[in-house]
C-alpha cells in the first residue's frame, strides 16, 4: 500500500490545459475522495494514476517509485468504472478472475478467491451468469468484486455509483463505507456528489477547473471552507450568498443590515468599503433570536422532519432549513433571525474567505 504523491503533475489534451501543475499527497491506507463539478479534472487525475492517460508533465510517485511512464498493468492498481466496464462475453466468474487468469495463478487459488469475494459481496449465486443478465446494482457489485479479487495496492473508483437510481445509490454508499473499514488499502474515489464525498472520504479533495481548492476532512471543509467555491459546494442544502458591502463593523446589502461579531469584524476591517459576499448556511437561519432579517417565503419544500423554505431577501434567493412542525405559510413576508456567529464573508473579486 503505497503513499501516492503527485509532483507538479500536468495534463493537457491538445492545446487545452486540463490540469495545471498539481501537487497532492495521499497517505497510506487513506480513503481519498476527489470531488468537484464535471470538467474539474478529477476523473483525469484518477486516470493518470491508473495509467489510462499519459502525463504531459511532472511525475506520480508510489512511495519512491516513479510510475508515470509505466503501463497500467505494471502499476498494481485496480479500478471500478462508472459504467462497470464488465466484459460482456464472459460470465461473472470469468469477469472476476480475468486478471488472475492473465497472471497465470493456479486454478484452485483463482476459484477460491473468486468465491470468497463473491460471497462477501452477495453475488455468489450469479457467478455463472453473463453481465447482460444482471441488474445495475448487481453489475456494480461485480465490478467492485473484480477489483477486489486483484488484491492491488491502490483502488481507484471512477464515479462508481452515478449510474444507479437514488435508492440503490444510498444503499451501495453505505456498503462502500462498510467495505472501506474492512479493506486497508489506499483508495481514491472520484465523484461529483458531495454527499458521497462527505460520507465516504477520510480526506476530501475539492477540485475546480483543474486546481485543488481545499483538502481536509468533511468537518473541516464544512466548518472552515477557504473560499466561496468550497463553501458553496460542500453542504446540503447549499450555502446562501448575499451581495453586500462592509462599513465599520456592519455588513449591509439589498434587504439586510447585519452587525458582525467581533472576530469577523476585525478580519473584515481590511476589506472596509469592499464588495463582499455574505455566506449563510440554511441551518443558520432561525425563527426566533439571532440578528433580525425580513424574508418573503416563496416555497416550502417538505422533507419530513425538516423543511426547506425558499425565500427572497430583496432580489436574492435564500434557503432556510427549519423544523417542519413550525408550519410557515408561503407567500408572506416574515421576520427570521440569522446566527451571525456562523456567517462567513468572501471577497467578491477573488472568492477568498475573509
Amino acid at each position: 500500500m503505497p503513499r501516492i504523491r503527485f509532483d507538479r503533475v500536468e495534463k493537457s489534451f491538445g492545446r487545452t490545459l486540463v490540469l495545471p501543475p498539481l501537487d497532492l499527497t495521499l497517505e497510506d491506507g487513506e480513503f481519498t475522495v476527489l470531488v468537484g463539478p464535471s470538467g474539474c479534472g478529477k476523473s483525469t487525475t484518477l486516470r493518470l494514476v491508473a495509467g489510462l492517460e499519459t502525463l504531459s508533465g511532472g511525475e506520480i510517485w508510489f512511495d519512491d517509485r516513479a510510475i508515470g511512464k509505466l503501463e497500467p498493468k505494471d502499476r498494481d492498481v485496480a479500478m471500478v468504472f462508472q459504467d462497470y466496464a464488465l466484459y460482456p462475453h464472459m460470465n461473472i466468474a470469468r469477469n472476476m478472475s480475468f486478471a488472475l487468469r492473465l497472471a497465470r495463478q493456479p486454478k484452485a487459488r483463482i476459484d477460491s478467491e473468486v468465491r470468497r469475494v463473491a460471497e462477501m459481496l452477495n453475488i455468489a449465486h450469479l457467478l455463472e451468469r453473463k453481465p447482460a443478465e444482471l441488474s445495475g446494482g448487481q453489475r456494480q457489485r461485480v465490478a467492485m468484486g473484480r477489483a477486489m479479487v486483484r488484491d492491488a495496492g491502490v483502488f481507484l473508483f471512477d464515479e462508481p455509483l452515478s449510474n444507479l437510481d437514488a435508492k440503490l445509490r444510498a444503499r451501495m454508499r453505505t456498503e462502500l463505507a462498510e467495505m472501506r473499514d474492512t479493506i486497508d488499502k489506499n483508495m481514491i474515489y472520484v465523484t461529483h456528489d458531495q454527499i458521497e464525498a462527505m460520507t465516504l472520504g477520510d480526506r476530501i479533495v475539492v477540485m475546480n477547473e483543474g486546481t485543488i481548492q481545499q483538502q481536509g476532512t468533511a468537518e473541516d471543509l464544512f466548518a472552515n471552507p477557504v473560499n466561496r467555491f468550497v463553501a458553496g459546494f460542500i453542504g446540503s442544502p447549499a450555502m446562501n450568498f448575499l451581495d453586500g458591502e462592509i462599513t465599520g463593523d456592519r455588513v449591509a446589502g439589498d434587504g439586510f443590515d447585519l452587525l458582525l461579531p467581533a472576530p469577523l469584524a476585525r478580519r473584515a476591517e481590511a476589506a472596509a468599503g469592499r464588495r463582499v459576499e455574505v455566506g449563510i448556511r440554511p441551518s443558520h437561519i432561525v425563527l426566533d433570536g439571532g440578528a433580525p432579517i425580513d424574508l418573503r417565503v416563496v416555497v416550502s419544500e417538505y422533507l419530513g422532519a425538516q423543511s426547506v423554505l425558499v425565500t427572497r431577501c430583496g432580489a436574492a434567493e435564500m434557503r432556510a432549513e427549519i423544523a417542519s412542525e413550525d408550519r410557515i405559510p408561503t407567500g408572506e413576508t416574515r421576520r427570521f433571525g440569522i446566527l451571525t456567529d456562523d456567517i462567513m464573508l468572501f471577497d467578491r473579486e477573488t472568492g477568498a474567505r475573509l
Binding site: 491508473a50 495509467g51 489510462l52 503501463e71 497500467p72 498493468k73 492498481v77 485496480a78 479500478m79 468504472f81 462508472q82 459504467d83 462497470y84 466496464a85 464488465l86 466484459y87 460482456p88 462475453h89 480475468f98 486478471a99 492473465l102 497472471a103 451468469r129 453473463k130 447482460a132 443478465e133 444482471l134 441488474s135 448487481q138 473484480r146 486483484r150
Partner: protein, 305 residues
C-alpha cells in the same frame, strides 16, 4: 363489419407497393425457374422452347465440367474469404490507433475496393504478363526464374486468388475497423488495468467482442465471392483448362457460347439455392443473437422485478 374493414385497410394501402415489388423481384426469378425446365436456345422465343421437365437438372448431376466448376467456386470462395478475413482483421487491429497520418493511411488501404473489378482485372493481367509483367520482371532482376502466373493451372488459381484478396481485403478491413472503434472503451481500459498485453487483449477481449460483426462480414463476403466474375474473366477467362472456371463464368459461357439457355438457368438456380442457404444462415445467426439478447433482457427484468 366495420372492425373487419379496419383490419383490412392497412393491407389495402400496402397492396400497390407489394404488387410492384412482386413483379420487379419475382418476375425475373420466376422467369429463370421456368427457363430451367426448357430446352431453349437464344434463336427461339421462350414460348417456342420445348418443355423438358427436370432434365436440365438431371444432366447437371452427371456433368463433370459443371462439377469441376462448382468445386473451383467453393474452393475459391473459401480460400479468398479466409485470407481476406485474416488480413482485413489483422490490418484493422494494427491501424486502430490515433497516430498522425492514420486517416490518410486508412483511406489508401480502402482504395482497391473502389476500383471497378474489370479495371482491377486488366491491371493485374498486365502485372502477371509473362514477359513485360511487373512480377516476372522483378523476379528476373533478382536473378530468379519467371513464374507461369496465368499459364499453369495451379499458378493461375493462386493468381486470381491474389487479385481478389487485393481488391476485397479492404472491405473486411473497413468493417472490422468500424467494429473495433465501436467496442466499449471502458471494457478495453478495464482489461488494460487487469493486465492484458496486446495479444491477450486481441484474443480475449477484442476478437470475441467483434465476433457478431465478423461473422456477418464473412458471410456477406462469401456470398459475393460465389458470384465473382469480372476479374477472372479478364485474367484467365476460366483457364488454363478449367482451373479457374468459376460458376458465373460457366453459366455465362453455357448461355452465350453453348447457346443452352435452359441449362444455364438450371445452373443459376443451383447457385441461387446455395446463396439462399448462406443468407438464411446469416439471418439465422442474427436472429439467434437477438433472441439471446432478448432472453437475457427478460431474465434481467425478472431479477429486478
Amino acid at each position: 363489419m366495420l372492425a373487419n374493414a379496419n383490419r383490412l385497410t392497412p393491407y389495402l394501402f400496402l397492396a400497390p407497393a407489394v404488387a410492384v415489388m412482386a413483379v420487379a423481384l419475382l418476375y425475373p426469378i420466376g422467369y429463370m425457374i421456368w427457363a430451367s425446365f426448357l430446352d431453349w436456345n437464344p434463336s427461339q422465343r421462350i414460348g417456342e422452347a420445348d418443355f423438358v421437365g427436370l432434365r436440365n437438372y438431371v444432366d447437371l448431376l452427371g456433368d463433370a465440367a459443371f462439377r469441376e466448376s462448382f468445386w473451383v467456386t467453393i474452393r475459391f470462395a473459401a480460400i479468398v474469404v479466409a485470407f481476406e478475413m485474416v488480413l482485413g482483421v489483422g490490418l484493422a487491429l494494427l491501424l486502430d490507433r490515433e497516430l498522425r497520418g492514420m486517416t490518410l493511411l486508412r483511406t489508401v488501404f480502402i482504395l482497391p475496393m473502389m476500383i471497378a473489378p474489370i479495371v482491377v482485372g486488366l491491371v493485374w493481367r498486365y502485372m502477371y504478363h509473362p514477359t513485360v509483367g511487373t512480377f516476372n520482371r522483378v523476379l528476373d532482376d533478382l536473378g530468379l526464374p519467371s513464374a507461369p502466373w496465368l499459364s499453369d493451372g495451379d499458378w493461375a488459381f493462386a493468381s486470381v486468388v491474389i487479385a481478389d484478396v487485393w481488391q476485397w481485403t479492404p472491405f473486411i478491413f473497413i468493417l472490422s475497423l468500424a467494429a473495433l472503434q465501436s467496442l466499449p472503451r471502458s471494457a478495453i481500459e478495464a482489461a488494460r488495468i487487469d493486465g492484458a498485453t496486446g495479444w491477450q487483449m486481441i484474443r480475449h477481449i477484442k476478437i470475441p467482442l467483434m465476433m457478431p460483426v465478423l461473422i456477418v462480414t464473412a458471410l456477406l463476403r462469401m456470398i459475393d465471392a460465389f458470384k465473382v466474375l469480372e476479374v477472372i474473366l479478364v485474367l484467365t477467362n476460366g483457364g488454363p483448362g478449367l482451373s479457374t472456371e468459376i460458376l458465373a463464368l460457366r453459366i455465362s459461357r453455357t448461355a452465350s457460347e453453348f447457346r443452352e439457355l435452359g441449362y444455364a438457368a438450371a445452373m443459376s438456380n443451383l447457385l441461387l439455392i446455395l446463396l439462399l442457404v448462406l443468407t438464411l444462415a446469416m439471418f439465422g445467426y442474427t436472429r439467434l443473437t437477438e433472441a439471446r439478447t432478448a432472453r437475457l433482457a427478460r431474465a434481467r427484468e425478472i431479477e429486478v422485478g
